[in-house]
Symmetry: C2
Amino acid sequence: MTERTYRRHEPVKGNTAQSPVLPAAPTRGRLRPLGLDEVRITGGFWARRRHTNATATLGHCRDWMEREGWTGNFRAAAEGRIHRDRRGREFADSEIYKLLEAMAWEGAAYDAEITALTDAIAPAQDPDGYLNTAFGRPGQQPRYSDLEWGHELYCHGHLIQAGVAQARARGEGELTKIARRAADHVCATFGPGGNPGVCGHPEIETALVELARLTGEQRYLDQAALFLDRRGHGTLADIEFGRAYYQDDMPVRRAGVLRGHAVRALYLAAGAVDVAVETGDDALLAAVVRQWEATVARRTYLTGGMGSHHRDESFGDDFVLPPDRAYSETCAGVASVLLAWRLLLATGEPRFADLAERTLFNVIATSPSDDGRAFFYANTLHRRHRGTLPPADRVSPRADSGLRAPWFAVSCCPTNVARTLAQLPAYLATADDNGVQLHQYADAELATTLADGQDVALRVRTDYPSGGRVAVRISRSPARPWTLSLRVPAWTAGATAWLVDPDGRRRTAAPGTARLTRVFRPGDEIRLELPVAPRWTGSDPRIDAIRGTVAVERGPLVYCAESADLPDGHDVDALRVDPSAEPEDGPDGTVVAPGELAAPVDSHDSAWPYRPLDRATPPTADRTGITLVPYHSWANRGPSTMRVWLPATQSPTTPPTTPTRR
Amino acid sequence: MTERTYRRHEPVKGNTAQSPVLPAAPTRGRLRPLGLDEVRITGGFWARRRHTNATATLGHCRDWMEREGWTGNFRAAAEGRIHRDRRGREFADSEIYKLLEAMAWEGAAYDAEITALTDAIAPAQDPDGYLNTAFGRPGQQPRYSDLEWGHELYCHGHLIQAGVAQARARGEGELTKIARRAADHVCATFGPGGNPGVCGHPEIETALVELARLTGEQRYLDQAALFLDRRGHGTLADIEFGRAYYQDDMPVRRAGVLRGHAVRALYLAAGAVDVAVETGDDALLAAVVRQWEATVARRTYLTGGMGSHHRDESFGDDFVLPPDRAYSETCAGVASVLLAWRLLLATGEPRFADLAERTLFNVIATSPSDDGRAFFYANTLHRRHRGTLPPADRVSPRADSGLRAPWFAVSCCPTNVARTLAQLPAYLATADDNGVQLHQYADAELATTLADGQDVALRVRTDYPSGGRVAVRISRSPARPWTLSLRVPAWTAGATAWLVDPDGRRRTAAPGTARLTRVFRPGDEIRLELPVAPRWTGSDPRIDAIRGTVAVERGPLVYCAESADLPDGHDVDALRVDPSAEPEDGPDGTVVAPGELAAPVDSHDSAWPYRPLDRATPPTADRTGITLVPYHSWANRGPSTMRVWLPATQSPTTPPTTPTRR
C-alpha cells in the first residue's frame, strides 16, 4: 500500500548537543536552529507578551485544568474510577502535556510545577507505556477502538513533545522517561505487522521525529515515516466531512494543496517536512513546499490565518475567504508557524519567515487578551455585532465564540499559544557554516558558536513592529570574515529598505535577504531601516468576499477599524475609505485613513435588500479620518464591532495575478 | 413561566368542509384557502414539475427508504428487535410520514401505497399512542430522554400532518386514526401537569393546530399553544450551538428576527401564526410578521433561500450572506413557503406571496434534478469547482454535497420537496367574501363557491414564468358584482405592468394587488401583462460578500452563469459584466449579459494574493456576451461551476436603504 521511495539515514544526535532547547532540530537542512540558551529576547513587543505568558497565562491554564478536573483524570485513572469520573473531552490529556511543554521552555522557574504535574500523570501510565485516560480501562472503550476521533496517538504525540522539551530545556527527567515509554509502546503497537492504523489527528509524526533527533534512535523515525505513508489510502473511515478532513483522501506526496481540518493538515505537513529532512527525501519536501505555496496563495487570510469553515474547522475551497466567517483558528496559526519554521530551516528561504512573522503578529498575538487570561479560539476579520463578553468564571461551550473567553470546552488554543510564546526566542535566528541569520526582529541577545568553533555574539535593538529601525551590534566575532544575513520582509515591496554597514555606507535592500560579509569587530553596528509607513493593500479579484474593499497594513501589522474609535452612534459598517489618498500615522500607534462616515442606518428598516440598479451618485457621507488600530489589539476595550477589509469609495484595482513569489 | 395573554376561541370545523385538501385551513384570517378539488394545475412549468414528482420522485423516495431499511424499522419495532436492527438517523420515521403526506395529496393513485405503508407502521404504535422506532423499547433510550436531539415530537408532528392530509384529501382512514392516537398521547404526556418539555425541533405545533382544525377539538390547539409558550425560557439544555439553535433563547413573541437553525425557526414561526390565528392573538401574529420582515430584509438570499451557516444550518448574523457559502437548505425553502402562505392567509398582503413565488421558483424548483431522482440539500449561489456527481447508487453522507445526490444520510429534503409539489395547487389562489384572489400564476382551472353560495369558475392561461402574459377567462359567475384580485409581483417595480379588463381597457398595475370588481359574465377575459425583460439587480451595501457585483433576474427567475455556457478553458470566475448596458433575451430561455471574459488565470500561480494597490487600468479582457440560464436549471448538464452574483466592470451603486416595504 505504501510508496516508500525515500532513502534511509541514521538520525544524527550531534547538532542538538549545545542547544538543549530546540523546537525542531533537523539534522539535515539549510539552517541550524539556535536554542533558548543562545537567543534571549530582552525587550519590546514580544518580551511583554512573553512576560504575560509566563506570569499569567501558564498559571491560568494550570488552574482551569485543575478546576475542570482534567488534571484529576490521571489520578482517577490510577485509582480505577476513571470510567465514572472522567472530565473533559477525549483529548483533554493533551492540554496538560502542552502546558508541560510550555513550562519546560520557560525554564527553571517551573521545575517544581513540572515535577508536581509529572507526579500526577505517572501513575496513570500502563506498564506497557500506554497513557490515556479516555480509553482502555474497565468501563471504557478499548484502546484504539476509535482511531478516527479518539485522539490517543495525538495525545501520545503531545506527551512526547513535552518530554523532548524537558530533555532539551531542563535535562532529561521523569517526564522524558514517561514520554519514551509511550513512544516505545506506540512503535510496538503500530510498527510493521502491528495495528495498521493512523490517528484521526496528526501530531504523533512530528513528535516521533523529534524524539529520534533527541535520542538518535532510528525506530522512532521509521514509525513516523510509516504513519505518514499509511495516510491517504482510506485507512480511516469515511465520515460526514469526508476523508479529506483528516488528510486520508490522498497520499501526502500527491496532494497539491492543504485541505480538510486546518490544524490536522498543518501538523501533518510539519511531520512530513521532518521526515523528509531526516531521510533526505527531496521529493517529499518539494511536495510540501508546493502545497504550502498553493495554500498561501489561495487559502490564507491577510492575517496569515488559515481555515474559513466553521463547520469542520477546515480550509475552504480556493479563494473562499469571507472575513465575517473567518475561522482562522488560533491553533491553525500556531501550526502554520511550526510548518513555516521547518520549511525555513530546510530551505533557508525567507518567504517562510515572512509568513511566520505575519502569523505571529496577527494571529498568535491576537488570541490572548492584554492580561493573558482570555483567548480568541477563532479569529474573525469582521465582527458585525458587539455581543457580550463570555463570563470570566465559566467555560465557554462555543469554540467560535466571538470574543475572548477564559476557557473552552475544547480548549486547545490557550496552551498552544502558551507553548509558542515560551519557545519564541528559538524562532528569531539561525546559524550555518558561514554565519548567522536574523529572521524575526526583537530586542535580543544572541551568542552561538560557528561550525569552526569560533564564537559569535551580537545584540539587536529595534522599535519593531511599531518602527522599522533594526540595529545589530557585534559583541564578539572571530577574526575571519563571516556573513550576517537579515531578512528584508516581503511587505517592504513598493517602498525602500536600507542596509547600513559598520562604516556607515547605505545600500538599498530588496525584499528577501540582505547579506553583509566581512571581518566584523566587536562594537560594529549594522543597521536595517525598514519603511513602516501605513499602506493600502488590495486583493486578488478571485477573493470574492472582499471585492471593492481595501485593508491597511503598517510594517508587519494588519490594521482594523473598531467601533470604539468611531463617533457615538456610528458603526464600522457605515465607513468607507478613499484609496486615492494615503493613510497616515495617528497618535499611539494608530493609523488614520482618509474616508467618510455615512449617517447611521435605521437598523429596523424592512426593505428587500436586492434592488434595481440606480446609477445616480451614491448617498452622501461626511468626509473624515477613520482611526485604525492594530488588529492584534482589538476587543481589549470591551465588546465592539470591527472590520479589517474596508469598503472603498471607489473601486480599487489590483494588478493581474502574476506567478511571482513573495 | 408563560405569558399567555391571548384570548381563547373554540376551533371552528366549518370552513374545511368543502375543501378536503388544505395544507393550512385557518378558521380566522383574511383569506380562505382553496382545496385541491377546487384548483387544478393543467399545464406549464409547475405541471411538468408535478408530473415528475408524481411519476418519479415519490417512487424514488419509497424505494430508497425501503432499501435503506427506514421503512423496515417499524416492522423491527413490532417484532421486538429494533434495538439491534434499527437503521437510519433518529428522525428517519418522519421521512416515511412526509412521503405519506405527499402521497395523500397526490390523490387516488397512491391509495394502495398508503395502505401498504400504513400497515407497516401500525403495529409499531404502542397502546397509548406513542409511535417512534428510536426510543422507548428494551435496549433503547427511554421515551423523551433526549428532547434536545431525539426528534420524537417532531416525528409525531409529521405523522399528524400525514393523517390530516389523508383525512382531507382521501377521507379519514387508518393513517388518520394512528395520527389521532399519537396526538392524544402527546396531549396526555405533555399537557398541563405533565412533562414540561418541548421538542428540540419544532413541528408538532403546526401539526396539532391543523388537527384541531380538522377535528374541532380544542385540546390539540391548547397543547400547541402550550408548546409555544414553553419555548424560549431555557426549557432545553444549552448546547454548543447555543439555545438560539432551537429558538429556546427567548420567547417567540419577544424575538425581533428569525435566528438559529433555519428550518426549526421557520416551522416554529408557522406554528405561531397558526396558534395566533386560531386564538385571535393579534400581538403574536404581529410579532411573527415583524420577525419575517427583518429576516427577509437582512437574512435572505436573492433566491429566497435562508440560512448561511453550514456548521449548524442556521441563519447567520444580519447581512452575512456569502454566495459561495450559502447553505440555503431546501427544507428551509419549504418551511419559508409554509410560513409565507400562513401569513398571506392571515393578512391578505401580497408581499408574502411575492416571497413564496421567489422561493418556489428559485429554491424548491432548484432542488430536484430534471428527472426527479436527485436533489440539492444545500443550494449554493456560487460554485467554484466542478467536482464529481455523487454516485446514483449510494447514499451521500454529506448534506452539503455540492451537487444533487439521489439520497442522503439525512434525507429530509427529497420528501419535503415531494409533499410541497404535491400540495402546490393549493397555493395558487384563495377566496374571501368578495371574490377570488390569484397569488401564483400557472395554467390552471379553478372552481369554488363564494360565501353567499354562488359558484365561480375560471381558467388561467399563461406562459409564466418565461413570459408575463396571464389570461383569466371566466367560465362561471354569479349575476352580481364580485372582485377578481391579481397579485402584481414586486419584481415588476421599475417597469410597467398592465391590467386589461374584459372590455379591452388597459390600465397600469402597480406592484401589489390589481383588483377588478364587476358583474363578470362567462367568457369574459381579464389579462395581466407583466414586464419580463431581463433586469440588473444590485444589493444593499451591507451585504459585504457581494459588493461590486450584480445579478440578473427575469420575471420571477434568478439567473446564473454556468461554465457549460462559456468557451472552453474559461470559467465563471473569469467573467465580468457591464451594468451600463442592458441584458437581453437569448435563445431557449437564456439571457445574454453584456460583459467581458478575461484570459484564463494560471491556476498554479503561487503569488501572495494581497498586494499594494495599483491604480492603473485593470487587465484587458475580451468584450463578449455572457450567457445566463435560470438558476433552477443549473447543474443538469453535468458537473459545472456557477455564479449568481457577477463581478461588475464598474462599481454598481444602489439607492440608499429606505424603509419601504416590498
